[in-house]
Symmetry: C2
């Protein structure tokens, strides 16, 4: 099923949530009862939460740290996600054209993801190979971490900040139908002004929860008539509990977030 | 064996070459006689070239495009590389701290690489988790592709270009003993001025060969008393031949490059 902008908007309005659940599953942090079985953990989390979210985001680092076994778990986890949900490969890739094309094959053709996060540092020919019919390129703009001040917030000679220039330039490579931006939840005032400039684009917003972003402020600043946001929570849901009831406690955390989001529909 | 700067310098001077061979092995491009067996191809290339280079660079995209099997091939290829050689994970990673830490585990602990290429866009806390005793962080500065003009060459308010700012800021995170920079072979005049400013750092220089960089110009602009460069060639060596003698033809291309480099020792 193609996850067009219209589809996403409809799905979001049906569910009255823009929740994305980040499957950043760390084998060392899952309940000991699972004996490090990441796939079993992911299955329980997906079973317990899929009616409460519109998307799952898979953080590739956590699977790569397990080697070939990790890739196997990644593939099998993706198969467990209902086909209604947007599946995001959180891989932050970006390389010269023939290499980006290889990453695109891995993520779209082999794994069947609908979207990938991409770093813009290497410019147009590193990002364009990720554009495909029915797929989403999610470009890093202003990230949630402290290091976002190092370069992303640097002012260019033109008066724009680097992340503003990244959005202005890269928004011409595609359109609001195939490009999203990563905007960290730790920057609500910037999200507000970016929303004014980009009324139609979807923004992927990590940093609510463990990283301390304010959910209400983000919804107020960033939502548009189509939803327009995918707000990601990872650790606060995955590790809500450490015993047999971890999935139920994760579900409750997702419900808590949804209760806030519902007010903006 | 720790690949310290002194070690690299000595190895480079013994061999009179700064050649790095990029194992960007595309299963669709290897001789048909190998029936798509990437590991067998890599083994023949390594056997035929290891006495002619000081380093191998593995482009992760090409392995990830094969899924779990690709990771297995990646692990087995790394085991085939002599322990004398610097092994570079060309992965261009970079994410929030806990995620970068996971990528570091994958690349250093699981795969046993000596170095990793990292994108600086997300700033200090995305790069610092890759610093480890005896390991090298290779930060993208000015890449070889056309898209390097989009952001890397943009002028900041301070008058510096973005890649210059990236080098100035990130050179304070580590030192010339654990930090290298990616500088594309398509920018020889920039490499010359960057060498003046950074006399001690090693630079990883891709873009000679298929991408058209001038080897003489790069050696002249970038070499220092320790060598100071790792010049990467991938496609021109890997695909020098398409028959049974592909490895021998790859070896000849490596010899041709070394003949040029020898003049600078």
């Amino acid at each position: 099923m193609l996850k067009t902008r219209e589809y996403l908007s409809q799905f979001i309005h049906e569910r009255k949530t823009v929740l994305t659940i980040g499957l950043d599953t760390d084998s060392a942090k899952i309940p000991s009862i699972l004996k490090g079985d990441v796939l079993a953990f992911n299955k329980e989390i997906i079973d317990a939460t899929h009616d409460l979210c519109v998307s799952y985001k898979l953080n590739f680092a956590f699977y790569e740290s397990l080697g070939a076994l990790g890739w196997d778990i990644l593939e099998k986890t993706i198969e467990l996600i209902p086909s209604t949900h947007l599946i995001i490969a959180d891989a932050k890739r970006g390389d010269i054209g023939n290499t980006s094309e290889m990453y695109a094959r891995a993520v779209y053709d082999l794994l069947g993801c609908d979207a990938i996060t991409v770093s813009p540092y290497m410019g147009s020919d590193s990002v364009k190979p990720f554009f495909r019919d029915g797929k989403w390129v999610i470009i890093l703009a202003l990230t949630s971490n402290e290091g976002s001040a190092d370069f992303q917030q640097q002012e260019l000679k033109s008066g724009k900040k680097l992340h503003q220039q990244v959005m202005e330039t890269s928004s011409r490579w595609g359109s609001a139908d195939n490009t999203m931006y990563v905007l960290g939840a730790t920057h609500p005032s910037e999200i507000k002004s970016i929303r004014e400039k980009y009324p139609e684009h979807f923004f992927l917003v990590p940093g609510v929860g463990a990283q301390g972003g304010d959910l209400d402020a983000i919804c107020e600043a960033g939502m548009n008539h189509q939803g327009g946001l995918l707000i990601n929570a990872s650790r606060s849901i995955l590790y809500a509990g450490h015993g047999r009831d971890f999935a139920e406690l994760g579900r409750r955390e997702a419900q808590r977030l949804n209760k806030v989001m519902k007010n903006y529909f």
